[in-house]
């Protein structure tokens, strides 16, 4: 019997580096056998600013996860985030070959190929080409193969990134344990969206917003397809930084205060109320007005949502996203954040929950959606040939490896 495949999912985040290890049984079933996280040093706004210390932290997380799993990782799925990620829509059009206009697999493939042809400027590389809707003679169809049409159009959402930053991440993984290989790099938004929103929600149309420590990653689904992804280099770290500047306290105090007493909406009674900075009655402790905390956090959170609104424009409306806005990521746990989202976006906003197959209690934390999503794609990669054959990423990674 062939050995089960062990895959690792690694997210190099701004506050922590998370590693999950999954075992793929028979190519269809996934067991999470190890997990670990390490404090992230040297990542800001989703981008690596100190390569060597990020390398050490990542290796520590991988090592701890491998120890827990009692197994060695064969290949790694990485998530990417940061302001350097960009995306665009492209359309590939072909005239169906068959004399009687029966659409074949070959037509779909060549339409896809022409959609992905666009050359990128120097220093940029494609991360993924995500297949979107298909149109047979202008009519949107689920699967065009076998239908009759003269013209076939395929929509793609293409995400590209700064080559140097991607190379840095690959080097970190390949520097572990005599060269671990990176199987695929997936935008964090795509990974998190797959976990935070259910199949039904994605089919209906939904916006998933993953607010992490350094970045806010969002992904918009329409009829089950990804039509837009984006990164705003603002996250929970900014909330903490704002508190620390506004209240004149240090970063650690601000972080503690945010987790303990932070909320994104003004409530009745906040006008007068105070919380103690430390609550330990020591010298230096002082009362902090609740109003100040709420105002600072509210301003920042509302701004994050309004930037998303500006980026997506009319694509965010109750009609366009019946599935609503789904929040995930560590900062989504801030009380009141859903209400702010609803106010700004004008769409029902709620915290996401992980699918039922995530049984381990500790992994149900919204901070894990991205890595869980990576594992999910790792499993998909085994059984679903489509993504693999379509994406020219393997070649890209090999090229970057040299």
């Amino acid at each position: 019997m062939p050995r089960n495949k062990i895959i690792g999912a690694v997210e190099i985040g701004s506050s922590k580096i998370t590693a999950l290890i999954g075992e793929i049984e028979g190519g269809r079933e996934l067991n999470i056998i190890g997990s670990a996280e390490a404090t992230s040093m040297g990542v800001k706004k989703g981008e690596i600013v100190d390569l060597s210390s990020v390398g050490r932290c990542t290796h520590a997380a991988l090592l701890a996860a491998e120890r827990k799993a009692g197994a060695q990782v064969d290949e790694v799925f990485l998530s990417a985030s940061g302001a350097h990620l960009e995306g665009f829509t492209s359309t590939g059009t072909v005239n169906v070959r068959d004399a009687d206009n029966w659409v074949s697999e070959e037509d779909v493939r060549s339409a896809g190929q022409s959609a992905r042809q666009k050359a990128l400027p120097a220093g940029r590389c494609y991360l993924v080409h995500i297949r979107g809707a298909a149109y047979a003679d202008g009519r949107e169809v689920e699967n065009p193969v076998g239908m009759q049409a003269a013209k076939l159009e395929m929509k793609y959402w293409n995400v590209h990134a700064d080559e140097g930053r991607i190379t840095d991440m690959i080097h970190i993984i390949s520097g572990y344990d005599d060269g671990l290989s990176v199987e695929e790099i997936i935008p964090a938004s795509v990974a998190a969206g797959r976990i935070a929103a259910s199949d039904d929600e994605r089919r209906a149309g939904a916006l998933v917003v993953d607010i992490g420590a350094g970045t806010t990653d969002f992904v918009l689904y329409r009829k089950g397809h990804i039509v837009h992804t984006g990164v705003i280099p603002v996250g929970g770290g900014h909330l903490t930084n704002d508190l620390s500047i506004g209240l004149r306290i240090n970063f650690k105090q601000a972080e503690r205060l945010k987790l303990r007493d932070g909320k994104a909406v003004l409530e009745k009674g906040d006008k007068e109320g105070h919380v103690m900075l430390e609550g330990d009655l020591q010298i230096g402790d002082r009362p902090i007005p609740r109003l100040a905390i709420a105002r600072i956090l509210n301003a920042r959170v509302a701004e994050i949502f309004s930037i998303i609104k500006n980026r997506l424009g009319s694509a965010v409306s109750p009609q366009a996203v019946p599935g609503g806005v789904i929040l995930t990521g560590g900062t989504s746990e801030l009380p009141g954040i859903s209400e702010v989202g609803r106010d700004v976006l004008g769409v029902d906003t709620r915290a996401g929950t992980h699918p039922a197959w995530v049984t381990r209690e500790d992994l149900r934390d919204p901070g894990y959606s991205t890595t869980l999503g990576l594992l999910f794609f790792g499993l998909q990669g085994q059984s679903l040939g489509e993504r693999k054959t379509e994406a020219p990423k393997a070649g890209l990674l090999r090229r970057l490896f040299k």
């Binding site: 800001k44 900014h238 930084n241 500047i245 506004g246 007005p289 105002r295 600072i296």
Partner: protein
Amino acid sequence: MSEATRDWQEHPLRVKIIGVGGAGGNAVDRLRMSDAGPMELAVVNTDFKTLDASPLTEKVMIGKTVTGGLSTGGEAELGRQAAEADREELSRLVEGVDLVFILAGLGRGTGSGAAPVLAEVAAEAGALVVAFVNLPFSREGQRRMRQAEDALAAMRDSCACVISLPNDLIVQQAEGDPTLLEALAIADDWIRRGVQAIYSMILENGLINVDFATLRGALHYRGGKAVFGFGEGAGDGFVEAALRDLERCPLLHLPDNRFLRKTDGLILNIRGGPDMPLSDVYRIMDFIGDRFGCKENTVLGAVVDGSLQGRVQVTVIGTVDVTGARRHPYRVPAAARPRPLPAVPPPPRPAAAPAPAQAPNAAAPSSASAESHGDTSFAAPGRPAPPQTGNAPSARRGINPPEGQAEFEFLAGEDRGYFEKTDENIYEGQDLDVPTFIRKGIRIAV
């Protein structure tokens, strides 16, 4: 005139405050209402109407050939051209002045364009130039902010110290919802405190006075950033209250410098009532030295002000050398310099006269070379020469960085606090790393 041979009886120290542009001129006008002491006041503008309305006597109109006596309409380039056209006028304005304060509001035309030129002219004339500049509100938009930032960078090249006062912070300092006049008053108060902190040390009689050379020594890095903060305390335990107030000063909590624990030069001014004991002065000094990591190179001035019975005001101005390569070469006597200067040449600036041991620099004008004669006499004893001040950027450790590295150091020098070393985070003209509440002018009561 060399300071070594100067007769101080006949030629007392001259201090001039010059407002450039509309905002700068107004600040000087309002400064006049309060006590300006023995300082000379002047305004520079392109706009005849504004100049005419100013109650001051010394007014310089620039750029008649450029704007025809009108304002620049917010174009910094016009402001610069206007100042360049009347460079002689400007140099007459600063001739023989030892300490020049430049007040300007950056972001619009005359302030952004002309203030850097004036600073350059004043520095060339051998004056110590200290600038207080207001930065526009984030809401005023990207273009103004960019003009302001360009001007700020240009001013840092020639000023000993540029103190930037972001207008966004005014609202943080105000009580309730400030009226326009109140907001202006706060901005003026910041400037007055800063100007006062510096001139009172050298001009007023106080507990502890500082001579001009020492002040000059404390500000001997050009191109650096400055921190500026103040606190006030009254009643029982007024020293502690003042220090707490200082810690909370919003100007010290700018994203730029809030993590600043290390300054290269520090000016500390304490104003207290006649009842202030010396021990309190030293207590404040210890605290400040710890907070800003600059025990060796602190210049202390303490002034007794009869109106401050039972109260104390503390003002701090610190400079940070972000480039490491831009110090005034003539400030450091050759003997005190253990290793050669870094290979990076200082930016070509006529005022930077050659240090005695260096290869002669033919471009140096005579006024600045005269300065270098006085060198040894006012490298104040007891204050360590800059090369010994320790853990600042590598250029100061005497390492000769390769050209490329120095370049990098300069680029990376902009200290952006927690988010330093990261890419700029500009969205629709606003830096997202700056707290939203500051950019939106939401007041936070602490």
